[in-house]
Symmetry: C2
Subunit: 495 residues, 2 copies
């Protein structure tokens, strides 16, 4: 894999000097167009052997291009806010917005390679990390991101020579960090695992470019040209073709029986029983959240449901049990400008709770496969791939100790009609009901189908859906509270 | 100060039940209007004695109002990302956007009171913290925020009784945290220092409301009504009247001699000397940033200057010296939607570097007293108060160990004309020059005056301005690098 990058590629200074002005001009123009269009972000991953010019290349990029539109992110030691969340959180929070270039210098590849080389993880875990990286990149690419993965290489001999040479130059010796010296001892391992990583993660949507780093002119010119070609091609391509995946469509239930129809919506709770159980379940939740074992977990509760199904009321009954220091309610509405400039899941990643904390989502990432699907706000290709992306996302949450409960609050059409009428007649509830709510009733069947698909495709053992019979608000609230409590208890007992 | 709140205020259940529906309705409507107008944020500070119902009140707010538009923030132990930055950073990052309500439960007041009660700080430092709180609130208020400061109070006797009563109820005993018990021992100190804080921080723009907390009905109704009155009044008031402060205008220099005229713009550096000094100063900077003492500091460099004065080139020469892991270039352009929903300085606070890091601002918070003043993008009242707010901001940076250097790159009109022409004729620089740049030349004198005022009012010993003679780019770059190096060295020697 690295053979071509150990041949001693070199370019003389004249050739370099002659080529640079045109290259620079073209790069700047591409960058300017990228900014004007604001259609996609560019992510540049910088990896490879120490001493092969990674840092210099990043600097050169900043010199050749407009550094104000380049955001260099580095990922050293995790901060405690990062350590309290799933590992990918630190990358999500640094993603460049559309129109900009993000250089990830030190990234998921460096992290997994360091981990394997120093023996903190085994090869099986390295492979898991590789899979995670691929899913992330696939998703980013589907969201329009243009990804460049550069591996700067040096043969072992050349690496040692280069470190020595840098070390002896008093004006440049500051360029060598202690890490560089350390790596000269682990070169063989690093390159062996590096090869494994490159082999498994070079994909059409995000290929690796291995560049020999010994000669500054060769390295810089090669990198610059790859970047330019990729940028120009992506800018020229009109909006990326979005065609539904080459697969059979989701099957509608041919017998018209859906999961939602199987619910017994007549279930209800008597007021006195309700009061009693509410007290019990609220106290139970409060106790569970104060449990020492909660320090290893966090809690995410997702509330979806028909309009007027009582999401707000249920959320309030859960929150009422708790110390406001522990929870946060995140209400998902139209995305902001900063959110629209990012991949779909970004707006949810930013609210992932730290360990020990609890986030309640009033509507959630399922918007894509519910309202966006039904209303046609996104392409079929987008919501079809969302199922997989959501499962990936939830697995990452779960792996990091997040206890995840998801509720669909179901009511029937008559109940909804009554509640809409009641809202219209109650002054302080009037603002809750709009023309749109009435219009949405026409799409009842489409929503039912979407909910069925959603549950079939995203109800997993690590993040099951709970369908809540919500014609009776009291019954629904108790079921919600009890489900959360049971999930927390089960998680505490599991480890 | 607390006398009225120890009288045993109480309301019977019937009165409460009769009053709540109308109150709730009015609150919801006010909240809805707040959201529709998106004109200002509401900040609710919750403080007071433990056991006086602070937590319950926050919960009640969430029950009465739409919890999706209320964001409860709590400030316990600082995270390491927070500890690495000025103390106020954690509050800035949680400010509610316009149209929303932010409840700060645990805030700057709780922090200073805990600190004083437990003896971590002396009274003089408490007073400094009080001053800081007032400046922050004054600024928030000037930016349109509506601030409520609630102090929930209990006499010592009642507090003890209440803790006991909660403790004995098995279903409610989870409401008492270890902190509650601790506070019953420190009650006297807490109330004594609390009084000092309230006395000094009750201002027309953000008065305290002391509410007796013993009776749940009285407490809730009182709080709800204060909130409602305040909200309705603020919503009714048309856009807050912005009149310039009652003071003499900034004096123009009557003799037409300005600071900028005193610069010797003919200074230049020979190419060979430049190369040599560039190497020396870059190596010096790299060494300084690797110094162990840098761990106690961070570095912020602000670049302002005439159009085409060479800010970008100077920034690149600084960055070229460094490991890209250490610095970040933040380029200030038009604010995003999320930034527009926040006070002016918010967009800069979010980029304040952590300890050990270096942020270069390509244009900065001085935009308000430069371009916004000259172009009339903001009211005179806004840019006039900005000088003070900026000095406060920079003092907070400095107190937290941030080394702050600020550059104005000055060129004369002829040099600017030549550079504009050159840009137009250089293909890859063409995008740097627009019609607007040419238009701005007509405002040369207005900018000169603004720069003079800016330097006079914000060049302080903790954050001095450096005027850089930039007709010769080489001279300017060396002066910039050397100034940064000198500032870092001085800071290292200081402590």
């Amino acid at each position: 894999m690295f053979e071509s990058a150990e041949l001693g590629h070199a370019i003389d200074k004249e050739t370099f000097d002659a080529a640079v002005p045109a290259l620079r001009e073209a790069l700047l123009e591409a960058q300017f167009e990228l900014k004007q269009l604001q259609r996609f972000p560019v992510i540049v991953l910088i990896n490879g052997v120490e001493g092969a010019g990674k840092g210099e290349t990043v600097k050169l990029l900043n010199e050749w291009m407009d550094p104000r539109l380049i955001q260099v992110s580095t990922f050293d030691q995790q901060t405690d806010e990062e350590l309290a969340r799933p590992p990918a959180w630190r990358y999500w929070r640094q993603l460049p917005p559309k129109g900009q270039i993000g250089v990830f210098f030190g990234n998921w590849y460096s992290q997994m390679l360091q981990g394997r080389v120093h023996g903190y993880i085994k090869t099986a875990q390295l492979d898991q990390a590789i899979d995670g990286a691929l899913s992330l990149e696939q998703m980013l690419c589907n969201e329009g991101a243009l990804i460049f993965k550069f591996w700067f290489h040096l043969s072992k001999k050349r690496m040692k020579a280069r470190l020595k040479e840098l070390h002896e130059d008093p004006l440049r010796s500051w360029r060598i960090s202690p890490l560089d010296w350390q790596q000269s001892k682990t070169y063989d391992k690093f390159v062996r695992y590096g090869e494994r990583v490159l082999r498994r993660t070079s994909r059409d949507f995000a290929p690796w470019y291995v560049i020999e780093g010994a000669d500054e002119y060769y390295r810089s010119l090669t990198m610059g040209r790859i970047l330019l070609d990729g940028l120009q091609a992506a800018l020229k391509a009109k909006a990326p073709p979005v065609s539904p995946p080459h697969s059979a469509p989701l099957t509608a239930s041919f017998d018209q029986i859906s999961l939602l129809d199987s619910l017994d919506l007549s279930q209800q709770l008597d007021k006195l029983v309700y009061r009693e159980q509410l007290d019990i379940e609220q106290a139970r939740l409060a106790t569970l959240l104060r449990d020492k074992r909660m320090r290893r977990h966090s809690l995410v509760a997702v509330f979806e449901g028909n309009d007027a199904a009582g999401k707000g009321g249920a959320i309030r009954r859960v929150a009422a049990a708790l110390d406001p220091r522990q929870y946060r309610i995140v209400s998902i509405a139209a995305p902001t400008e900063e959110e629209r400039a990012q991949p779909y899941l970004w707006r949810f990643w930013r609210h992932v709770p730290a360990r020990g904390k609890f986030t309640l989502f009033d509507r959630s990432w399922y918007g894509r496969v519910l309202v966006e699907r039904v209303e046609g706000f996104c392409q079929p290709a987008d919501w079809l791939r969302a199922y997989g992306e959501i499962n990936d996302f939830e697995e990452q949450l779960s792996d990091a100790g997040v206890v995840l409960v998801k509720f669909w609050l179901a009511i029937d059409q008559e109940t909804q009609f009554e509640r809409f009428k009641e809202r219209e007649n109650t002054p302080f509830k009037r603002f809750k009901i709009t023309e749109e709510d009435w219009r949405n009733r026409d799409k009842w069947d489409a929503y039912r189908e979407a909910v069925g698909d959603m549950v079939d495709r995203t109800s997993t053992t690590i993040a099951p859906w709970t369908l809540v019979e919500a014609n009776d608000k009291r019954f629904a609230r108790i079921k919600v509270l009890r489900t959360i409590n049971d999930a927390l208890e089960a998680a505490f007992e599991r480890r």
